[in-house]
Point group: C2
Chain length 247, copies 2
């Protein structure tokens, strides 16, 4: 079972102040890249939002033509916020642990997950669930914290002996639990290599369509000079995969 840090009051109090929660999708700098991996027109589609949080993407999918949206999250806090927006009968919010979620087969056209899968303890199980839940031709798009971000004991930039800013990578090939103190102490994540994300998708039957090791554009850096450091190591990994065939 994944840790439910979003229902820790200390964590949540900090978390809801992030731009991506107060402003919504425009507060998430990687959203344009993620959106570009999704179908441009969702008209008539069934959309699955895994780790839906406040439901920003669930509502976006609905606004872009999806006829049915299922938003799933483990956190009561998050779902309470999502349900605080005007109700739409095409959107259903479900409280469930993605580590044990069971989905109806051959149901969805698009499965989506933003910055959630790195909390799961059993990724192959969830990926297999998503695969069987998609219709043939369906698309799975997700983002996670980049493996370079989850790997080290201390994911913070340091200066080398010559004064250059570098990222102290360690433990990249040692997969498993990582404890960080981001917003709250003891946040538990699962570090996986990039190859593990790729191979888990392929072994489930998916065909890989695109990968984006997201970093800020020149325009974003002009606006937020501190983000230049993200070019040292990307913060997010975005992937798109398709269920081309019925297996």
């Amino acid at each position: 079972m994944a840790q439910n840090i979003y229902d820790s009051d200390d964590f949540f109090k900090e978390y809801i102040q992030l731009p991506r929660q107060t402003i919504g999708l425009d507060g998430a700098p990687e959203w344009p890249a993620l959106r570009s991996l999704l179908p441009t027109d969702l008209t008539g589609m069934k959309f699955l939002d895994l780790g839906c949080g406040f439901g920003w993407v669930s509502r976006w999918a609905r606004d872009n033509g999806a006829v049915q949206v299922l938003g799933v999250d483990l956190s009561e806090n998050m779902l309470a916020k999502a349900r605080g927006f005007p109700a739409d009968e095409a959107i259903t919010y479900l409280r469930a642990d993605l580590d044990s979620l069971e989905l109806l087969p051959n149901t969805y056209n698009v499965a989506f997950s933003s910055l959630t899968l790195h909390y799961l303890t059993d990724l192959p199980r969830l990926i297999a669930q998503v695969y069987q839940a998609l219709e043939a031709g369906g698309t799975f798009v997700f983002s996670v914290e980049h493996p370079l971000f989850t790997a080290p004991r201390r994911p913070e930039f340091i200066k080398d002996s010559e004064g250059y800013t570098v990222y102290p990578l360690d433990g990249y090939l040692k997969e498993g639990e990582r404890i960080t103190n981001w917003m709250a102490d003891g946040v538990m994540k699962q570090h996986r290599t990039l190859a593990t994300y790729v191979n888990t998708l392929i072994e489930a039957g998916f065909t890989l369509c695109a990968m984006d090791e997201w970093g800020p554009s020149d325009e974003l850096i002009a606006e937020h000079p501190g983000w230049e450091r993200s070019r040292i190591r990307p913060p997010f990994l975005l992937m798109k995969a398709s269920k081309l065939f019925q297996q």
Copy 2:
């Protein structure tokens, strides 16, 4: 055009002393992983070896049933060594720059490249050449220096302020030329992100089959304790892709 460092006498004098040249494939610790990505039986197949060096893999392919092998290298020094082994009329060695090589269409069953593609200045061109040179159903297997290895200004482990060994990553998202002083001064490589390798294959029409961010096994570390550090950041990236359809 790729730099031809292997024809620099200083470089070559050092290079031919590496175990992977003196012993052959058993001197390359990643070879078992790379071999496992290749078809187990090459009987009747046509095999392309890009950056063939001394021809170790070209001869291995022949020994494993390939009926025709083309080994391509830019270096006269390397090809002279390859031609020093007993001749086999099924193996042809060709001197050519992979940045401008033209291959016959729909000819090969397997294309292979070991630790060569990170020297090329135009990777999409070569990948497209390989794609059109493979028969439908053909396989492309290659290794390169891992992007974590090619990225930094100084790819050497350092100690952090608490005495832990870390790898000072920088410039991961800044693709392009890197100059290192490995065996000789001024060795020129091209740094590309993992996403670029993946997307270049997909955009050429390939279906990704497997990725291996190679690190030493427990057995290898028991034999060579110094190799433990490779788990901090993998030295090699291995990939397998297929031409499933004729496009």
